[in-house]
Symmetry: C2
Subunit: 347 residues, 2 copies
């Protein structure tokens, strides 16, 4: 249609209201903030007009003026992962209550993208950020600290005094999982780890190593594999290893993976390779995403308190923003082993 031309979005401003109300725009500003200095009758009139015109204040102007944007930034590594989803769901709910808005960015486990995302947050004047950084030693962390950008780190604990973090203890998680496998009789455990540049992968490896040490087992380098964190990668890795080998020849009886998604990939591969879980291969995941309970067989995993992570991190951030607290908070949350049916007990 010719005449459905898009008109430029006409912004309604306090000036427009002022014209209609026959007062100056600064009176309108005051009236809208319910300043008692403004005559009650004009105040009411102005409010009425504002409502009629569907006036909504321009937050850009406001933010420019006050340095209060009422937005906070969230920088995560995989928007699609149910793990992260659970975290920012609670964040979103709390933000809704507090009239904050969330700027959400996905870094895709890419440090350049992460850097870009941090800059985006700064440029947009967010009042604070929650970030799950890829690496604890990357210059990206410095960027945040130098700028004095209020931040809560999750899923990591960068080694700086003046930061906040909420960290689910990955080291302990790996330890618990590995210990459970060892106690079930497994000696050769494939560690299906996350990407090598990811700090979490190193914490996880450490926990795995500690468990081996405790039970005087050798760490076999060939059983530590770094992988992208997706179902597809998990499947890919296992298929790669098992290709052209007999079940008895793959050199391990169990898989411990950094994420449930990865573990589900192992399930996929196992099916394709006609390996039975847990008869031929035991599997333990990490995160306890909702799906892990429903796969066949139900996945033994380590529960990561995602809701609490989200809740604590946003609470800490909002407190700091409000200025209620100047102290830096460092929280470590303990994960919990959830035994289901993907681990075989070896006699």
């Amino acid at each position: 249609m010719k005449n459905t031309k898009q008109y430029p979005r006409k912004e309604i401003t306090i000036k427009n209201i002022a014209e209609l109300a026959g007062v100056s725009f600064s009176t309108v500003a005051k009236a809208l903030r319910n300043d008692p200095l403004v005559n009650i009758k004009t105040r009411e009139r102005i409010h009425r007009i504002a409502k009629e015109m569907n006036y909504y204040p321009n937050l850009l102007a406001k933010g420019l003026k006050n340095k209060k944007t009422k937005t906070i930034g969230i920088i995560l590594n995989d928007l699609q992962s149910p793990f992260y989803a659970e975290i920012y769901k609670v964040i979103g709910d709390i933000l809704n209550e507090r009239d904050y808005t969330m700027l959400l960015c996905d870094s895709n486990y890419d440090q350049n993208l992460e850097r870009k995302n941090i800059i985006t947050m700064i440029s947009n004047g967010v009042e604070g950020i929650i970030i799950s950084p890829i690496n604890e030693n990357s210059p990206n962390i410095n960027l945040i600290i130098e700028r004095n950008l209020k931040a809560v780190f999750i899923d990591s604990f960068p080694n700086f005094p003046n930061i906040n973090y909420v960290y689910a203890n990955h080291e302990k998680a790996a330890f618990l999982a590995a210990e459970h496998l060892i106690q079930s009789g497994h000696k050769d455990i494939l560690l299906l780890n996350g990407p090598e540049e990811l700090s979490s992968s190193h914490h996880f490896l450490r926990g795995y190593t500690q468990a081996l040490e405790k039970y005087e087992l050798f760490l076999r380098e060939d059983l530590v594999i770094f992988s992208h964190l997706s179902i597809e990668s998990g499947a890919e890795v296992l298929k790669q290893i098992c290709r052209n080998r007999k079940i008895t020849d793959i050199g391990f009886t169990a898989v411990l993976s950094l994420s449930d998604l990865l573990a589900i990939g192992v399930y996929d591969a196992a099916k394709e390779l006609s390996l039975r879980i847990p008869e031929d291969l035991s599997v333990v995941g990490y995160d306890n995403i909702f799906a892990s309970k429903y796969v066949c067989p139900p996945l033994t995993t380590v529960h990561q308190p995602k809701t609490r992570t989200g809740m604590y991190s946003i609470q800490i951030l909002l407190e700091q923003i409000a200025g209620d607290s100047k102290e830096f908070k460092k929280m470590v949350i303990d994960p919990i082993l959830v035994k289901r049916s993907s681990v075989r007990i070896v006699k």
Copy 2:
């Protein structure tokens, strides 16, 4: 520590750079935009200084001036749902490429919250929004249209000429699913629908009804149930119905649900009630979230093209923002039946 006091975030502006460079701030502005009118040497010097100082432009100021904020808003109903997650994952990826940022809000199937979220988007000056509205006839839609806010509706098709939408045909989805059940021999099918105020629920009901009509089956009102869209609600509803009744007495042999999440809730309840799927109860879901393939037994469902929904919607929006297209796009995407193992064939 006393002296870890938080300094106010000092913003670095073009004025600071100007001082250091010994030029006027407007020269800096031009230099940073690589305006060839500025002497190449000063341009370089200014760029160097800007980099050294970690200058990042204030997007609020920029936005206020240009009416280009490089942000787009996404308003969804459940951030945690794997269904929505898949949609905004692709949106996020494309936005990353195009240097746009996403403002994400969760309306929680609440129309008041939805209204607030729309206003938030307007106030923040987003260049456009993608919204999955709760109801196609709510005043919230008018709010968007009146304001001439560029928008793409997903998961719905409001009846206005001058809007864009990308709609996965829920009516057809329900029809396909119901037809499959009927052809498998089921005559009494419980429709586990979404919330009554949700437009999708009505489209879904229509498809279900059509299938019944086609096969000359009666629509039994008692078999249409509106429910919140979560695993818990799905389980709750089924348990409610089956309480104190024998399997042969519940009055239906199959369940068709508006979402896979709801269907998984049915799985949970079935387990608790010692009902076998599909022997005692057949189940068909909708969405085809990743988990539906992994549940036991694998869930028969109707695939909703989430990636395409996300991709098309953001492409349409960005085109309209760029002004490349003034035409309103109305896309309807066809869902596809995915047969797995949760439907029993009745002789």
